[in-house]
Structure formats: structure tokens, C-alpha cells
């Protein structure tokens, strides 16, 4: 039942996205849609790692590795765009697996701070390598695919759907176990370090893909695009949108990106918007915008006297356990 419904939601998003990119590719609204897709991928990547309880501030670094990998493959090796983006994904995944195998032995604040430092070190690293264009980065990352905007929409919908299914799968349950009770999960025989490293690698593959697409959409990349501030923005998207559901992350991107664009006319107040939104979300709305929506939906259903909830269709594993307890 839930699968059918979410497939329906995915198809609706897909249809709307295809219509926008095919019929009106140059409109401002299409431009907004594409950025929401790319940043949405970044947000769901960060959220995936948040599901195992770690704040991955290196999301921006893996986004950057994907972008640099793809840009090098396109401009220096003259590979086809599809292959080039694949190269970016491989670079991001491989580096994240190595990074995770070392750093995920630590948890909490240690992992957070190391991932922060990693992002800055990688960014500084780009500026020092002359063949990568140093401070000015790489220009002329041209795409061979005329329908790149459409591709971005399709990939985003598929990946969000895929990650949603992953979350509801057996691996999703193991991830929850690792998040709340790492030692207990280890006692049950789950290789927790490998689960965590695998989750980080999957998340980073998504970030790397977003990076490769970003490089080809923007055609120019520079080290400054991949600083830790991008990771901070990704956190804001996930938290303000609501971390309880994967679409909350996408919602957060859409809302904050639109507000940021509107305010750009007034000057660089983007940081202030993100700052206030983060504080506001933590103090007033810990469930984010998505949490408000789902609480309202539940309230409306109760009001109409429908006592049947999702439980009629088997266990609803897409709702985090802590949230389920408060609903009951």
C-alpha cells in the first residue's frame, strides 16, 4: 500500500519535473527546480548519515570530489558526460569509504569535528594543485547531453525513492539499531563499523553524483564552492525541513532556497536566514516543517473519527521509532 502510494508520489514529481524542464527549460522556475534537485540530493545524503547518528560535515567535500572528478574527466580526458559523472561518483565513493573506515571508529563530536576538518583540508588541497586550476578552479565543463536538466530531475526522483526504500529495508533497521544502540547491535553480530562505512559510502556516492551534475550544469567549479558552509546549509535544509521523513529534507531545500533567492535582492542576508531558521527550528519546531505537516494530518484524521492509522497495513517503518512512541 505504502509502496504504491509513494510510487504515485514519485511519478507525480517526475511528471511535473519533466514538464518543466522539457517545455520551459529557460524559465526562472526551472532554474530554481534544478537547484532544488541538486541541493536536495546533498540534503538527503547528509540525512542518510544522520540516520546512523552521525553529523557528516564532509558532505560538501564528497560533493566537491564528485564535481572535481567529473570536471577532470570531461575537460582533461575528454570522456563522455555520462562516464565523466561516473568517474566523479567513483572518486567520491572510494575516498569516503577510506575516510569512513578510519574515522567512523570514533562517534559523535569526534566524527563531526574530523569531517569538518576534512572538508576544509580538501578545499585547501584544491587551491594548492596547479593542474586542478588552483584558486580559480576548472572552467569549460561542458555537457554532451542536451537534456541534462531532464536527467537531473529523473535522477533526483529515482534516488530519493531509492533511499526511501533503503530506509524501510532491513539495512534501514540495522541503521536504526546502530544509531541508538551501537554496542548492542555489535553484540547481535552486526559488523557495525562496516555498516556505518557502507552507509557513508552510499551517501557520498549520492553527494558525488550531485557534484558531477553540478559541475556540468554550472560549467565552472572553484574550491570555494565546496567549503564547510555548504555542509552547514545542508544541515539547515534537513533540520528546518524536518528530519523525520526524506521528503522533509527536500522541502527544507525548496523553502530555504526560495527565501534566500528572494532576499538576495536586499544583499547577502542568506546566512542570516539560515541562522535564524536553524535556531527557530530547534527552539520552536524540533520536527521541522515536515513534522508540522504530519502532526496536522494526524490531527485532521483523528478529528474525522478515523482511528485506523498506518498500522492497519503492517508496521510503518518509515516513521522513526522515537516519533512513533510519542504518537501513540
Amino acid at each position: 500500500m505504502r509502496i504504491v502510494r509513494s510510487a504515485g508520489v514519485a511519478l507525480a514529481f517526475l511528471a511535473a519535473g519533466l514538464a518543466a524542464t522539457l517545455w520551459n527549460p529557460d524559465a526562472f522556475s526551472t532554474y530554481i527546480l534544478l537547484w532544488v534537485c541538486l541541493y536536495g540530493l546533498l540534503a538527503v545524503s547528509l540525512r542518510l548519515v544522520l540516520l546512523i547518528g552521525e553529523v557528516n560535515l564532509a558532505t560538501a567535500a564528497f560533493f566537491g570530489l564528485g564535481a572535481y572528478g567529473a570536471a577532470v574527466a570531461t575537460t582533461m580526458w575528454d570522456l563522455h558526460t555520462f562516464v565523466a559523472i561516473g568517474v566523479g561518483v567513483i572518486v567520491a565513493t572510494a575516498v569516503s569509504a577510506a575516510f569512513g573506515a578510519v574515522t567512523l571508529r570514533t562517534t559523535g563530536a569526534y566524527f563531526l569535528l574530523i569531517s569538518f576538518a576534512f572538508t576544509e583540508v580538501v578545499r585547501i588541497g584544491y587551491t594548492r594543485v596547479e593542474s586542478l586550476g588552483g584558486n580559480s578552479g576548472i572552467v569549460g565543463v561542458l555537457s554532451d547531453i542536451a537534456w541534462l536538466p531532464t536527467l537531473i530531475v529523473i535522477l533526483t526522483v529515482l534516488i530519493v525513492l531509492g533511499l526511501w526504500l533503503l530506509e524501510a529495508s532491513r539495512l534501514g533497521l540495522i541503521m536504526r539499531a546502530v544509531e541508538g544502540h551501537n554496542d548492542l547491535a555489535e553484540c547481535l553480530g552486526f559488523p557495525t563499523l562496516w555498516v556505518k562505512t557502507g552507509v557513508l559510502a552510499i551517501g557520498s556516492a549520492v553527494a558525488g553524483l550531485a557534484g558531477g551534475l553540478y559541475a556540468h550544469l554550472n560549467t565552472v567549479i572553484a574550491p570555494g564552492d565546496f567549503g564547510f558552509m555548504l555542509s552547514i546549509f545542508a544541515i539547515a535544509w534537513v533540520i528546518v525541513g524536518g528530519r523525520g521523513h526524506i521528503l522533509g529534507a527536500v522541502l527544507g531545500v525548496a523553502v530555504l532556497f526560495l527565501v534566500g533567492e528572494e532576499l538576495r535582492v536586499l544583499g547577502a542576508y542568506e546566512h542570516l536566514v539560515y541562522g535564524i531558521a536553524l535556531i527557530g527550528a530547534m527552539v520552536v519546531l524540533p520536527g521541522g516543517l515536515w513534522g508540522v505537516g504530519s502532526a496536522t494530518a494526524l490531527w485532521l484524521r483523528r478529528l474525522r473519527g478515523h482511528e485506523e492509522t498506518n498500522q492497519a497495513h503492517g508496521p510503518d517503518i518509515s516513521v522513526p521509532i522515537a516519533e512513533k512512541e510519542t504518537i501513540r
Binding site: A109, F118, I124, I235, A268, Y274, L278
Partner: protein, 295 residues
């Protein structure tokens, strides 16, 4: 030979100021388990206070610059301490012990304050006049008097702080809470009061660090963020919550940076110090002086 001595003294001076900044971060983490991303903004705020008092003061009065620096020190400690108290009471108190929520609030605060500084003071870097001019010769190496003075003051502050943490009731309570909050509370320690003291003390240390660094650098709205990265590396390297670890790691980082800046390049220093962190984590995941039980 005198080259090496110059590197060592520069490294000690850089390290000593890093230590002050990082002890504040690690104290706040120790008592509240919050990674205070807004610590850099406390530093920036104090640096702007120094800039205002020293430049305006020397322009409008005939008092010597050392008096101005003393005034800047006192005023910035008071203002930043009060700002820290305010931040604690309004925002951080309710998130004590909740690492992710505390982090997010701190990030939000940092972003907002950065914008505020930019609106108030503009983005262009501004130079603060030197405390003292001139150089001294130490065993053949030429050292600016200012560097020696900063080093002396920073070491003095760290020593006073160490004595405070070792011998006063509040200091002991801070360390007890940092090591094991529940056990400390069972001994009758008032957690609220101690975590408030820890937060205010940490904030005041950011102000002291700012007063000492200001004359040797330029002041701009993102000056604190750039220091924050170094603060983070120091507190992981030393072990989160460990004051002794922060002192060791701070001087180590200062030495790496001083050597790399003289022999190679400043940005190489950042990469080297990150590699040092990864190396230490491979051997000791809890940092040099960290507590093995990090739950």
C-alpha cells in the same frame, strides 16, 4: 641555529594563543557536551571591541597605547562574558547534553552573528595598532618584543587558569562535571550553576585570546571562523574535554604551523596538522589525553 630558535619562539607564541582559544572550546564541550560553533564569533566580537577601543582611544586621548589595551582587555572580557551568559541562559541551557541539537543552535547563532558583524563593521580587514614596537635579540635570534609579550601573557593566563581548575571549588567541580556528570551531581554539585560558570569562563577565554591575537593580525567578520577550524583540530588531537590535552595539542599545532610557514607554506600547515589528527586517531581514537570512555 638562530633560525631554529626563531621557529620555536614563533611556534610557542602562536600555540599559546591557540591554547587559550581551545581551552574555552574544550571546557564548554566538557561540561555541556556542546560543540560551540559560535565560539569563533565570541572571539570576533572581542576582536572588534579591541579595534574600536584602541583605535578610537588613541585618536581622542593622549593616554599610552598600553593603557588602551588594558582597557580593551577588561571591557571585552566583561562584554563577551555577559554575551556568553546570555547565550547560555536563552539558548544553550535547554540543550545541555544533547550534542546534535546544541550543535545546530550554535551553528545558527554563528551564522546570524557573522551577518550582524558584517552589517556593523563591513567586510574589509582592519589593522589594530601594535601593543609595543621594537625587537629583542635572544641568543642570536631576532624576535619582536610584541611576540614575547603575547607569549608571556598567554602563558601567564594559562597558568592562572590551571591553578584555578586545580585548587578552587568551582574549578574542581568543573573538572568533575566534565569527567562524569552524574557522579558529580551525586556528590551534590549543582550542574546548572557549574555549566553556567563553564560557559562564561570559556567565553571570557575567547575574549582574552582575541585581545592577544588582535595586534598581530587583521580583524574582519570571519576572523573567528578561521580560528575555529584550528580550535577543533586542537581539541580532537588533545581529547575532547581535556584541558591538559588542549595545552599540549595547541603548542604542537603552533609548532607545526610556525615550522611549515617558515620552511614551506602556510596552507601546507593546515594539511599537515590534519594528517597529524588522522594519525593520532588511528592509534588513539580518544585523542592524546582523552577519556577512553566517551559515552
Amino acid at each position: 641555529m638562530d633560525y631554529a630558535l626563531q621557529i620555536i619562539i614563533n611556534g610557542l607564541q602562536i600555540g599559546a594563543v591557540y591554547v587559550l582559544f581551545a581551552i574555552g572550546l574544550t571546557l564548554i564541550f566538557g561540561v555541556m557536551k556542546i560543540v560551540n560553533f559560535a565560539h569563533g564569533e565570541l572571539f570576533t566580537g572581542a576582536a572588534f571591541i579591541v579595534l574600536l577601543i584602541v583605535t578610537r582611544g588613541t585618536a581622542s586621548t593622549a593616554l599610552p597605547i598600553s593603557v588602551m589595551y588594558l582597557a580593551a582587555l577588561v571591557v571585552s572580557i566583561i562584554i563577551i562574558g555577559v554575551a556568553g551568559l546570555f547565550m547560555y541562559e536563552v539558548l544553550f541551557k535547554r540543550f545541555a547534553g544533547d550534542m546534535i541539537s546544541g550543535l545546530l543552535v550554535a551553528v545558527g547563532l554563528a551564522l546570524s552573528l557573522q551577518t550582524a558583524f558584517r552589517v556593523m563593521f563591513g567586510t574589509s580587514p582592519q589593522r589594530v595598532p601594535s601593543m609595543v614596537s621594537g625587537t629583542v635579540k635572544v641568543a642570536g635570534a631576532v624576535i619582536t618584543t610584541e611576540r614575547l609579550l603575547i607569549l608571556g601573557l598567554a602563558v601567564l593566563t594559562t597558568a592562572v587558569l590551571a591553578l584555578y581548575l586545580k585548587h578552587t571549588r568551582t574549578g574542581l567541580a568543573l573538572r568533575a562535571v566534565s569527567e562524569d556528570r552524574e557522579a558529580a551531581e551525586l556528590q551534590g554539585i549543582n550542574y546548572q550553576r557549574i555549566s553556567r560558570s563553564g560557559f562564561v569562563l570559556g567565553s571570557a577565554l575567547a575574549a582574552v585570546a582575541a585581545v592577544l591575537i588582535a595586534p598581530s593580525t587583521v580583524v574582519y567578520p570571519l576572523v573567528g571562523v578561521n580560528l575555529l577550524m584550528k580550535g577543533f583540530i586542537i581539541i580532537i588531537l588533545g581529547g575532547l574535554g581535556s584541558v591538559v590535552g588542549a595545552v599540549l595539542a595547541g603548542f604542537l599545532l603552533g609548532m607545526i604551523e610556525s615550522a611549515a610557514a617558515t620552511l614551506l607554506n602556510v596552507s601546507i600547515a593546515t594539511i599537515l596538522s590534519f594528517l597529524a589528527v588522522i594519525g593520532v586517531l588511528l592509534v588513539r581514537p580518544e585523542g592524546l589525553m582523552g577519556n577512553a570512555d566517551r559515552s
